[in-house]
Amino acid sequence: MSFGLFLQSLIDGLLMGGIYGLVAMGLTLIFGVMKIINFAQGALMMLGMYVTYWLFALIGLNPYLSIPLSALVLFGVGVLIQKGILSRMMDAPEHNQLLVTLGIMLFLENFALVLFSPDFRSIKIEGMPATLSVLSLNVHTAKLIAFIFAVVLAILLFWFLRSTFLGKAIRATSIERQGAALVGINTSKINYIAFGLGAALAAVAGSLITPFFYTSPDVGAAFILKAFVVVVLGGLGNFIGALVGGLMIGVAEALGGAVLPGSLKELMTYLIFILVLLFKPNGLFGGKAR
């Protein structure tokens, strides 16, 4: 592999990795607080993509401007799911929690399929150059914007959890639920907020990728497995870990793509996953919301 190709793959991988990190952040937040591995996270991201797509297709709204809206809508969907279904499952066995989110995923994906058909839909933003050239390297503009968003959001979330009252309450709940309840934190409210926030993060990720990734009912499936890998890699419940894990998977995949034939690059993700599961099940950076 030439040095130029190596650098190009590295940059592509980092940019894509930011997106993986963003999807994984929502997943890790939900896990950190509620100890639930949310299979529906990819489906929530898909809903966010459709919000953005339809706002663009119907009233021509720029996808980046629809981010607050898709985040808000999915926050609502998340709170509804938590209130209607998951709040009854908090003490259920782990595999039943997993299955419930699987059921929600099946429902959401196929609901979208019925409503919107299996067509792949894409958004073209007028006037935005597809790539920027920096020192003879091509940087994908939309991916760069998504990457910057991901990093800024990770920092904002980190600050939010460290410095605001609500954030501290979320962290307290994630570390010791009963203790948090004893000192007067309304932990079921924290659950709504955590799940809503997790869903909103998935929606933001979805909106950010619509300019360069097709929107379709099963698009979430392509991301959810990677998001699991990223979350385990970064340590369940660890935000910065999720971002770093995302970047690592992105780079591993891009470098694998440059070296391995066909779609074998996908193997990288799963091999890393199994190695981490076996040897470092708490992730490379340790667990619990931080």
Binding site: H95, G262, Y270, L271, I274, L277
Partner: protein
């Protein structure tokens, strides 16, 4: 216990008589599907229902069964009856490998579920990228209605094949559930540390469970390949396959002998019905599965059979008082 045996025998004879009275092809097809889903879900039940090691990656074993027999048939003209057994052995070995790694490193709960999912994906990617397995094109099996080659000119042949396979699998689970292995597995499910402290070799028992489960699943994979006559990576190794395998056992009641059968009895006709009523909308039946899954877990966490058992037990208790 005798009563349940008699009841099962009558049920089996009744099922065996179905083709004598019913000539409708579509009805036969649905019956075959019900039995086939019972088989693969029963296989999953051994590992996940009884020992509590929740697998999300049984497609790994299913695909192994489907591909082994199909490749042996198309490339080497080996009868799928033999291919089925070879596929079962290979799947059991893969199961041992996955189990060895997972149990050795103490993957549990969601970690084990995600780990098995990853293993299935790895197999899918390997098959999808290998010329030997025809990459994404899959394997087309030529029609050759010859019972010795696992193909029949009418659906009745397939019906009896899957009826026998499913009955044997159910019988196997019946014996397991009443054997030392079965008690060990349930002990592991309920409390692994306690089981270990009582001298149960949990590692060995879990390995036995995963290899049996894998072999049976592979047998289901071969049947699928010979019935549909076409396989490709996503429909044999994909995540949807793993979900389809675990669904009947969950709906019917995991960790019960009749659960997988009852689950398929509910879910297959329901899927067909919704598909018929809402024929224009692909995905409606999967939407329905999603809703059923959520509702069952919320309100009948032990599945249909588990719920009935609880009811009967409560009745007995009341009578006992």
């Amino acid at each position: 216990m005798k009563k349940s045996f008699l009841f099962s025998l009558i049920a089996l004879i009744a099922l065996a008589c179905v083709p004598l009275f019913v000539k409708d092809q579509y009805f036969m097809h649905i019956s075959i599907l019900i039995l086939y889903y019972s088989l693969v879900s029963q296989a999953w039940n051994i590992l996940s229902g009884y020992s509590g090691q929740f697998s999300f990656g049984h497609a790994a074993f299913f695909g192994t069964g489907a591909y082994t027999s199909s490749i042996l048939l198309t490339k080497y003209s080996v009868s799928p009856w033999i291919g089925m057994l070879i596929g079962a052995v290979i799947a059991a070995l893969i199961g041992l490998f996955i189990g060895f790694l997972s149990f050795r490193y103490k993957l549990r709960g969601a970690y084990f579920a995600l780990g098995t999912l990853a293993f299935a994906e790895i197999l899918r990617i390997i098959v999808q990228n290998s010329d030997y397995f025809n990459k994404t094109l899959g394997v087309l099996i030529t029609i050759n209605p010859e019972p010795l080659m696992y193909q029949f000119s009418t659906r009745v042949g397939y019906y009896y094949t899957i009826l026998i396979l499913t009955a044997l699998a159910t019988l196997l689970v019946y014996f397991i559930s009443r054997s030392r292995l079965g008690y060990n597995l349930v002990a592991i499910r309920e409390n692994e540390e306690a089981a270990q402290s009582l001298g149960v070799n949990t590692f060995k028992n879990k390995l036995v469970a995963i290899s049996l489960s894998a072999a049976l699943t592979a047998i289901g994979g071969t049947f699928y390949a010979q019935y549909i006559l076409y396989i490709e990576p996503p429909t044999t190794f994909g995540n949807d396959v793993s979900v389809a395998i675990l669904l009947p056992a969950i709906i019917g009641g995991m960790g019960t002998i009749l659960g997988p059968f009852v689950g398929s009895l509910v879910i297959v006709p329901l899927g067909e019905m919704t598909a018929k009523i809402f024929g224009g909308f692909a995905g409606v039946h999967l939407m329905a599965y999603g809703i059923i899954l959520v509702v069952v877990i919320l309100f009948l966490p032990g599945g249909i059979v588990g719920w009935i058992q609880d009811r009967l037990r409560a009745k007995q208790m009341r009578r006992g008082d």
